[in-house]
């Protein structure tokens, strides 16, 4: 009952060919991303908002949100093409959150980007909110898919990339997934398919924080180094420090500029709870425990470390 109107229903009757005139046929002008707000400040704002949401609920996947904030800042304020006031604009780059529990981070980024109204931050995870704890397409503007059942995002991304190509739409598909999803067989079905169909409009970002529900990912299935695996399948692979803004930006630029007809993956090694030292030092688990009085303390730590 609380859901937003589904984008598919009103357009089914339309022809898929060129639904918005010629506009989508021209490569997007990315110069509009220029802003006097630095990417570091964007990342800080994403962390602030995520902590605020955690404080409101008294819980949340804050370790992941703080870890991925730099990647989201670089993605939303450097790489992605979108219209904040028209989240379903046909020419937008598609950003898929395969990891539904990272929704707290994406909501923060979408608020920072002006897609979601910041006034609704207090509703996070509450009844009737447009921001449920696990991300769902039918609840939230800017949320392209329902993630959460892990191992789904990359396959859907392959289908969307094939669909965009079929329409002659030059938009890119980004899929953000976690290292834990590297254990899902469906991920590798999609990895093979993306190569089979030469999907050069697909960029997969893997948040490698080496933490899944029961412990370190490296102790489970993702034992071998990632880039050689992906390269062996035929992907263009990069591995970067996901908390190094310049490195992330450079990797996104390289992935976007690549001329070869192959899909691209960026393995982003991130640190859980990045930016809040006392949480970084805490015994890291999938669901980092934060005491009620620590949210404001964490915010204060962030402010101390903010970029000048």
């Amino acid at each position: 009952m609380f859901r937003k109107f589904h984008p598919c229903f009103d357009v089914l009757a339309l022809s898929v060919a060129n639904p918005e005139g010629e506009e989508i046929m021209t490569p997007p002008d990315r110069s509009g991303r220029r802003s006097n707000v630095s990417l570091e400040e964007r990342a800080l704002n994403i962390r602030r908002k995520a902590l605020r949401m955690g404080e409101i609920q008294g819980q949340g996947y804050i370790g992941q949100a703080l870890g991925i904030a730099d990647v989201l800042a670089a993605t939303y304020f450097h790489a992605l093409e979108y219209r904040p006031d028209d989240p379903e604009w046909e020419g937008r780059d598609r950003f898929l959150l395969s990891i539904g529990h990272y929704a707290i981070a994406l909501y923060a980024a979408l608020m920072e980007a002006g897609v979601l109204p910041e006034e609704e931050i207090e509703t996070y995870g509450m009844d009737d909110s447009r921001m449920p704890m696990s991300g769902m397409a039918s609840y939230t503007p800017g949320m392209e898919i329902t993630g959460g059942s892990l191992g789904h995002g990359l396959g859907i991304a392959v289908g969307m990339a094939m669909g965009l190509r079929r329409k002659g739409n030059p938009a890119l598909v980004y899929n953000l997934m976690s290292d834990g999803e590297l254990g899902e067989g469906s991920t590798w079905e999609a990895v093979m398919s993306a190569v089979q169909w030469k999907l050069d409009n697909l960029i997969c970002i893997v948040d490698f924080n080496n933490q899944q529900a029961d412990g370190p990912t490296r102790d489970a299935l993702a034992v071998a180094a990632e880039p050689p695996k992906w390269e062996a399948f035929g992907w263009h692979a990069q591995e970067v420090d996901g908390n190094d803004m310049d490195a992330v930006v450079a990797a996104l630029d390289a992935a976007r500029a690549l001329a070869e007809p192959k899909p691209r993956v960026i393995i982003c090694n991130t640190t859980m709870c990045k930016g809040v030292d006392f949480l970084e030092r805490r015994e890291i688990t999938h669901f980092v425990r934060v005491e009620p009085d620590e949210w404001s303390k964490a915010l204060a730590v962030l402010e101390e470390g903010k970029p000048q």
Partner: protein, 343 residues
């Protein structure tokens, strides 16, 4: 392995005097005395796609065995061979539907219902995306054993919100369900009959046309009302002709749409004339048409005498299909005998 066959695993066998080969997966369903139509699904999809640019076809290495090869041959640029990867098949179909295409995804019913279920549930059904899942070898239509016999597919998908379920009887239903699936906005799971598919319903009722969501009386009769879907409507009609020789008057209500169920028609027919009500389905006794009808009758307080013809709650044997249909009660003779025994 089934319990019965396991118990006899070490018993040596001799070749039977009468040879009945195991039905190959590609074999068409035999129905004596009916004309057949070749690949009705594939041809109907080509027709639909001629006037609807959104339609694309995808298969997970089973286009030949789901008649999708007819579409692939006619419109190769709209056919996607996804490889032997059913989770991918459903995810990609969901992704293409998100981009406003209308994907028909085909595989065997066992692989959709069992292997790809989570992807159908979350990527397709939860999002109410217009993906049309069309699956061959429904219920007991192959002699290959449980790995290929989708005896519980309808039970699995009936639990999934937003899904529309179709269990066609014959070539008329299969051809008719395609435009209906295109016109329907949400996700659909359709059981498929492929190869040379018999034309049954129009012989019994020349004006019959498939209508999504509608149950239709194919044959009138005063003693028994059979409420059936899929190939069991074919069996029920043949059994009714047989029972007519014994002066038993059997009506057949064909219910090709399992969900949503045409409750109004089912209740009206079940209330009329104090007939024995028998459901007949090519599906396990659990969670299919029979239980769905039973719920509606009980809820509405329709105190009909009620019996179910369905497959047992077992992993079924391998063998020749006619043998298996006889063994598990889906043959015309067994259907007729069961109905007679309940009168």
């Amino acid at each position: 392995m089934t319990l019965a066959s396991m118990a006899r695993k070490y018993e040596a066998r001799k070749a039977p005097e009468r040879k009945v080969a195991t039905s190959a997966m590609i074999a068409s369903l035999a129905a004596e005395g009916y004309d057949t139509v070749a690949a009705p699904f594939g041809h109907a999809l080509v027709e639909a796609a001629k006037t609807d640019d959104r339609i694309v076809g995808l298969s997970a290495d089973l286009s030949k065995y789901t008649d999708l090869h007819v579409f692939a041959d006619a419109m190769p640029e709209r056919f996607y061979q996804m490889g032997m990867a059913e989770q991918l098949l459903m995810s990609v179909a969901a992704g293409m539907a998100r981009e406003r295409f209308l994907p028909f995804a085909t595989t065997y019913a066992v692989f959709a219902a069992r292997r790809a279920y989570d992807f159908i549930a979350m990527a397709i059904a939860e999002e109410n995306l217009p993906v049309k899942i069309v699956c061959a070898l429904p219920g007991l239509t192959t002699g290959y054993g449980p790995s290929h016999q989708a005896t519980e597919d309808l039970a699995i998908f009936r639990g999934l919100p937003n899904m529309t379920l179709i269990d066609p009887c014959d070539a008329v239903d299969v051809a008719g369900m395609v435009p209906a699936m295109v016109a329907h906005e949400g996700p659909v799971y359709a059981r498929l009959l492929r190869g040379k598919v018999p034309s049954v319903l129009t012989r019994h009722r020349p004006d019959y046309r498939f209508e999504l969501g509608r149950a239709q009386v194919i044959r009138e009769g005063g003693d028994v009302l059979v409420i059936s879907s899929g190939i069991m409507t074919m069996r029920a009609l043949d059994a009714a002709e047989k029972l007519a020789g014994d002066r038993i008057d059997v009506a057949v209500l064909h219910v090709p749409t399992i969900k949503p169920l045409d409750v109004e028609t089912i209740l009206a027919e079940s209330q009329a004339g104090g007939r024995l009500v028998v459901t007949a389905e090519n599906h396990t006794v659990n969670g299919g048409l029979g239980e769905a009808v039973a719920r509606e009758l009980l809820t509405a307080g329709v105190a009909s005498r009620f019996r179910m013809i369905a497959l047992p709650d077992e992993f079924l044997e391998a063998g020749a299909l006619p043998t298996l249909h006889e063994m598990y009660g889906l043959s015309v003779d067994r259907v007729a005998a069961q109905i007679k025994s309940w009168l």
